[in-house]
Point group: D3
Chain length 191, copies 6
Amino acid sequence: MYAISLGDDGAELRSLEPWHAEEFLAHLDRGREFIQTHIPFGANAIDADSARELLQAYADKRAADTGSLHGIWLDGKLVGGVLIRVFDAVHGNCEVGCWLEPAATGRGLITRAMRVLIDWVVEERGVHRVEWQASSANEPSIAVARRLGMTRDGVLRQSNSYRGVRQDMEVWSVLAPEWRAARARGAHKDH
Amino acid sequence: MYAISLGDDGAELRSLEPWHAEEFLAHLDRGREFIQTHIPFGANAIDADSARELLQAYADKRAADTGSLHGIWLDGKLVGGVLIRVFDAVHGNCEVGCWLEPAATGRGLITRAMRVLIDWVVEERGVHRVEWQASSANEPSIAVARRLGMTRDGVLRQSNSYRGVRQDMEVWSVLAPEWRAARARGAHKDH
Amino acid sequence: MYAISLGDDGAELRSLEPWHAEEFLAHLDRGREFIQTHIPFGANAIDADSARELLQAYADKRAADTGSLHGIWLDGKLVGGVLIRVFDAVHGNCEVGCWLEPAATGRGLITRAMRVLIDWVVEERGVHRVEWQASSANEPSIAVARRLGMTRDGVLRQSNSYRGVRQDMEVWSVLAPEWRAARARGAHKDH
Amino acid sequence: MYAISLGDDGAELRSLEPWHAEEFLAHLDRGREFIQTHIPFGANAIDADSARELLQAYADKRAADTGSLHGIWLDGKLVGGVLIRVFDAVHGNCEVGCWLEPAATGRGLITRAMRVLIDWVVEERGVHRVEWQASSANEPSIAVARRLGMTRDGVLRQSNSYRGVRQDMEVWSVLAPEWRAARARGAHKDH
Amino acid sequence: MYAISLGDDGAELRSLEPWHAEEFLAHLDRGREFIQTHIPFGANAIDADSARELLQAYADKRAADTGSLHGIWLDGKLVGGVLIRVFDAVHGNCEVGCWLEPAATGRGLITRAMRVLIDWVVEERGVHRVEWQASSANEPSIAVARRLGMTRDGVLRQSNSYRGVRQDMEVWSVLAPEWRAARARGAHKDH
Amino acid sequence: MYAISLGDDGAELRSLEPWHAEEFLAHLDRGREFIQTHIPFGANAIDADSARELLQAYADKRAADTGSLHGIWLDGKLVGGVLIRVFDAVHGNCEVGCWLEPAATGRGLITRAMRVLIDWVVEERGVHRVEWQASSANEPSIAVARRLGMTRDGVLRQSNSYRGVRQDMEVWSVLAPEWRAARARGAHKDH
């Protein structure tokens, strides 16, 4: 029942739950090829049961406070989302990520949603370091990291194997003081 | 990060989670005697660990889609909450309940929160029957059931044992068509 | 190896266990349509494996002291049974039920078996309240409740969904003092 | 609620369950030294919780069809019992055993109870081989094996370590055809 | 990465692990009929998944310190192995066994591997009694027991059911002092 | 029973198992302060039970093929070890690490052990990328990475919180082709 408005265009952020399985599957089916260009997100979710399984995995992560999944709805239609892939309350670290179907790109939805998410982990949950990982070839993803004011920590050479090819994975991060300083400078507004 | 405004007085509804344990405990400690007049809600939550255990039990219910816990914050202070004690998506049934610390009574907070909750289970989750159970001696709780337009289905004679005394438990309910009809009549507004 | 004679006609009550799966299945197959007129008892038990699963679920309940399943054998043939669907030793409550294949009706088998069962929960296990639930349309079941001296506590309106139709469920109960008083009056003998 | 009469002296066999914990503990406390002369049966059961744990372990075995525990009550007092320590329905094997408090010895209670138990595993459960293990020093236990018509299969040299001393364990057994033949000869009657 | 040389012929002993599944399956396929003459070892391992399951069961035993599986490689080819079927550190007992594909018989591989294994359980792990079980009809297995200096403790009459026939199982054992004495006498060398 | 010689000085590598708990604890107690200068390895292992717990966690990882722990023994005394902290057979990645008590430093033990370990993951297990993480302040650890021919992939800024201070963590790695090339050049010999 909870929702957070992401702006005047009707975009909303909501927790994405197992009972959304059919809606989630339909969304994946619209964007599958695009979403999975660089990462396997949703690759196992090919019918209602397997879609529910993916959502259940995140519902369990949420219950264990080790991650969460949030959908972006545009005019009542699920078009993508942001997620906390790893959450470590003890050490104050988390890794975040995102996905989007092609029809919803170009509107800054991910950036807007990520700001809500990062504000929350930093201010409410005491996270010190927010990490972002992306294949070096995934330019849109790296552009988001840059737009969020993140710094590139390094490149994990050939650390991922996707579709038979080894990918370099870039690691970006923003630390809590950096996040707050950027917000104070209003840097968050000009995207 | 999600919140639902319950009105102009700053009251908000949020998911109540394991990481709220200390805040939840402080709230219980303020209202323990009052809250536990008729029911044992929170009786086992007597320190941070046991408070977290109670919250974790509901986090697990939520992950399993069998219940959920929602806190009511008034001016940023947790003062009570509403809960789905039992949720059965297959049969379209649920049982809801509530608790409040004394300082927050008399403002209709529970009724406002319950309306949000029942709207959601009925309209989003397809629940047909929303049940409410209260000890016959628990007049405030029965008053809430009445205010929500519920009907008394019966009295489970001496079905509960609390503090060494057997209590009659009243069962009240509202069905989805009744809920919608009442809302259409605007009955929900005059509390 | 244990058995309790239910009378001079050779009827016996025994614990119904996973290793009875084939016998249980054959019995269900003889009475399936009749047994499932009002309730789904045994609906999932359609072969030896699924029959064993149902029996295993009750074996597990018994081990956890939360329920049990007891078969009625007539001339060495399993013809029905009684069960403790819910057992709560802490609060002194239980819910009991029954089923029978059509060829075995009209002999008072259920009433006889239920008396043994209720005597045990009340006198040996300290149960204070024995509950019985039946669809309002299930007249034979309600007749058993009445014959056992139970009182109707109420009607849970449309609380069950069976075969696509919502059923009103009646709740009946007998309390330990009532049970003992009735037994003292010999009311248990005239069935 | 089930009980099997073991004879005219009021001795009865019943399933021994977790809810008997206090009664079981009191019995153990009366016979502890005697019972544990050769074997550690009940050694961990030193208060209500640990007694319940032992009984729960057997309740779980029973649910898994891998063993069971049966108490012998004499004039309503638990005085000992027989048990299926290992039950293997697939291979048709089981290992049985017994224990008794000293005040109840000399009446043939164990032999009577074991006959009921072996009859059941052989005739109802299809067991082909019933095994009995006893320390070579445990003469009363070996006498029971002999009285039950068992044959000594061998001696597992120093296979058990009890109270710091390695014991030779004798293995005795009776096969289903032997059991039936002995019963037919009435051999079971003279104890 | 660990290996123990079993002699000058290139035979080696290594832990046999789940990731060896395909190699293990190929080996079983070469020796299936021979290996399963008397015992069902590997009978369920008929493809890569089921082979991995068997290996995983032993990986789990090893983690729990209740058993382990060791392959014998001859010229880099898995040809059989030895195993600790049961390991009981608390009581200082274990049961060991072996299997071999036909092409690798006649070289004393099992005896050599067993000596390494028994040395380890006796000297490193404090085992007092090493047990060996074999069907009376399994002459090669009994010959190994004899060659290892074991004593026949007895015959568990008809205790095993294999391929529809009940087998007598012989129990052999060697105790730690016997093992050490035999080694001192150099008895281990003449095989 | 398995061991790998690490050279002429009697150093050996062995799997480090739960039953080594007391030996492991004694070793930790000798080196605790030194070992935990930069990382919390062994910090929770303060008595036999907690030491066993740490070893059991790695025994479980090994059974799940997600990691393993290997001790280095010098003249029969456990002085340190190497470990596969993360093992991902599907993606061909692993992260390795090490620890040593002060008395055993300066002999190249870690480098020798790591070479055995990396050879195995690369050649036997098909790992493509071997990762090493160390606090920027942990010069000896970084020196090992350099000696193993690893490349620094980056610095995860303030990603670790240890003893109340946030540490920069360096990520180093070597890829399978690099490892093989270095070995071919004999680079592995000059340490």
